[in-house]
Symmetry: C2
Subunit: 234 residues, 2 copies
C-alpha cells in the first residue's frame, strides 16, 4: 500500500507541480486547500480540478477567515500591486504577503497528517520568486519540521517522524514548468492570479501573473491558460 | 501606551487565569478563541464572559472545523472518558487529545500578533495535568517560538521578537486557582468540562472536571461553578 502524504494544493502552478511530483514519488496524496477569505477564491475551483486530474486520493477544503486579522492585500481592502517589474519583486516583502499564512496552512496539514498516520507533507514554497517571503525560506521550513516533531502524539510515540517536502524551493519558475510538463500537469486548469476576473481569467498585471508569464517565457512554452481564455502574453 | 499581547482564551479555568496574569503584567490583551467543532462549544460563551470581565481589549473567535480530520474524542464520534482516577491521566495521551490543536491555535495567534505588531502571546498550557500531552511541554513551546521567529515579516524585519508566555506551565492546578483568586478571577464564569450538560453545567465525570475538582480541593476553596449550578463536589 502506498504511503499517505498530505499535499497542500492552492490551485496554482507550483502546488499542481508538487502534487504531480508527490504522485510520481508513489504517495497516496491527500490534497488540502483553504478558503481563508482570499480575494482570489477562484483558485479553489482550480484546486479541485487539479486534485482530481492529478489523482489525489481525496481533497479537503478547510474554511476560516483571515480577514478577521487583515494585514494583507489578499485578505483586506488593500489594492493588489499591479504592473511591477519582476526585478522589483525580489526586494522586500510585498503587500500580498499574508501574515503567518504558511504556518497556519502547515499546522492544518500537520493535524491531518497525524490522523492519517502520514509522515510526509508536501508544500510548493519557493525561495526564489519572492526572496523576501519569510515563510518560504529553507530555515523556516526546517524550524517548522523541528517543531512538528515535538507537537504530536504520533511523533512523541515514535510512530511517525514528519518530513516537510519542498521540491520546488530552489527551482526557477521555468524549471518548475518544465518539470510539471514532463509529469503531465495541465497548467490550463491552474490559476496563479491574485485578482482574477469574474470569469476566472488572469488579470495579467499582478506580481503573480508577471512571474508566471516570465516562467513560461523562459521555459519557451506557451501558457495554456492564456490559450484557454483567448489571451496573449503581455 | 501598553504593549499589545494576544492571549488564547478557551473559557476554561487555566486561560482565564492567564488572561488575568497578562493584564496584571500591564498588557493590552487581545483575546483569541476558536470554534473548531468541539463538543464542549459552551466554553465559548464562557470565553466571551471571561474576556469581558477581565478587561480584554477585544475578543475574536476564529471558526474552522477540525471534525473534518477527526481523531479526537472532542471532535469525533468517540466517547469522552468518564470516571477515571486522576492518577491514571498522567499515563499516556487520552482520547481527548486533539491532533495538532495547540499548533493550529498558536499559528492563528502568530498571525494576529503580526497584524497587531505584538511581541507577546500568552497560552495556558500546563505540563503537569496531562504529562503526556505533547503540545503542552516546554520543549514544544520553545520550538514553536523558534519557528515563529523565522516565520513572519515582522520578525524578519527585526520589528518584533515573538515570545510565547506560558505562566502556568509548571504550576499545580491548586496553585493556578490560588493565583487566579488573588487576581480576582471569577471561576464561576469559566467552564472546564469536556461534556457539559445542555444548561452549561459540568458533567463532573470527565478528566477535565476531575482535575478541576482536585485543584479546588487542594487549594481549599469551593468551586464557585458548583455553587452557581447548585452542585456538590463528587
Amino acid at each position: 500500500m502506498p504511503d499517505p502524504a498530505v499535499v497542500l494544493v492552492s490551485g496554482g502552478l507550483d502546488s499542481a507541480t508538487v502534487l504531480a511530483i508527490a504522485r510520481a514519488g508513489g504517495f497516496e496524496c491527500n490534497a488540502l486547500s483553504f478558503r481563508y477569505g482570499q480575494r482570489h477564491v477562484h483558485e479553489l475551483t482550480c484546486a479541485r480540478a487539479v486534485a482530481q486530474q492529478l489523482g489525489a486520493q481525496r481533497h479537503v477544503v478547510v474554511d476560516f477567515d483571515l480577514r478577521t486579522f487583515g494585514g494583507s492585500a489578499l485578505t483586506a481592502d488593500i489594492e493588489v500591486p499591479k504592473d511591477r517589474p519582476v526585478d522589483e519583486m525580489a526586494h522586500g516583502i510585498p503587500s500580498t504577503y499574508v501574515p503567518a499564512r504558511n504556518t497556519i496552512f502547515l499546522s492544518f496539514a500537520l493535524a491531518w497528517a497525524e490522523t492519517l498516520d502520514a509522515q510526509d507533507v508536501f508544500i510548493g514554497v519557493n525561495a526564489l520568486d519572492y526572496s523576501g517571503y519569510p515563510d518560504c525560506r529553507p530555515e523556516y521550513i526546517a524550524a517548522f519540521e523541528a517543531m512538528a516533531n515535538l507537537a504530536t502524539r504520533a511523533s512523541v510515540e515514535g510512530r511517525t517522524r514528519l518530513r516537510i517536502h519542498t521540491p520546488l524551493i530552489s527551482l526557477t519558475k521555468a524549471r518548475i514548468i518544465r518539470r510539471g510538463a514532463e509529469l503531465g500537469v495541465d497548467y490550463a486548469i491552474t490559476s496563479s492570479c491574485y485578482d482574477t476576473l469574474p470569469d476566472g481569467a488572469p488579470c495579467l498585471r499582478c506580481d503573480s501573473c508577471a512571474l508566471r508569464a516570465k516562467g513560461f517565457a523562459e521555459a519557451g512554452v506557451v501558457d495554456p491558460l492564456l490559450v484557454r481564455y483567448g489571451l496573449h502574453a503581455r
